[in-house]
Symmetry: C2
């Protein structure tokens, strides 16, 4: 395990963009931000790199249901909440309990491997208006 991670210049540049972003960018947004830095990689390279970075655990892929995957450079265990109005995504660190996961294993007889909670709501800013 943890065999050396192979960060090619492309992968490194993409990883950098993700870590410099706090808004969980999509692949399209990552491509835009690379362009600002005068970096332009093949379409497929960006997707391959994102898959690679996800596989080696450097980033997390978020599938929030709304079309495009988003990428998160914070790989600590956490969940996300998305504003139904403006679409922004915020982190949630209050996680579900181990007891709850155990109850589900018991109910379903599955071996539970992962859980993702997708919360939707109204963010403070949008609520003001």
């Amino acid at each position: 395990m943890s065999s050396k991670v192979n960060l090619t210049p492309q992968r490194k540049a993409i990883y950098d963009v993700i870590r410099e972003s706090s808004d969980h960018p999509t692949a399209a947004e990552i491509i835009e931000r690379l362009k600002v830095k005068d970096l332009s990689f093949a379409y497929g390279t960006v997707y391959n790199s994102l898959r690679y970075l996800t596989e080696v655990g450097l980033v997390h892929e978020l599938k929030l249901g709304d079309a495009a995957s988003r990428y998160d450079g914070n790989v600590d265990e956490h969940q996300h909440i998305q504003c139904q109005i403006c679409g922004r995504v915020d982190e949630v660190f209050t996680d579900v309990t181990k007891e709850w996961l155990n109850a589900i294993a018991k109910e379903t007889d599955y071996t539970v491997k992962s859980h993702q909670v997708i919360l939707k709501g109204i963010c403070p800013q949008c609520r003001e208006q």
Copy 2:
């Protein structure tokens, strides 16, 4: 509210297929099952109908992250778990607690409107092998 639901023949047929299915079919699978009944609607009609049925609350749309949305005729509050090996989707009725949702509202300052938990694991059948 609850103004009368307008179930055209197409919408009714699609709703029937969903209720007769216990495996949370995708739009493509619904189209297949309609074909078995010698019903063939325009591509767009199926999607429009699915959106309509979802909006009026007769079915639930599940976005499990893997490409296509699935549709569920059981609109009681519940969650889902998907087998990472065979892809089947089962229901989960052990829901998160109200306290947990309150804690999240407190942490994020969002008004929490909905939550969807996507659990992944290994189903009993796949575990045997």
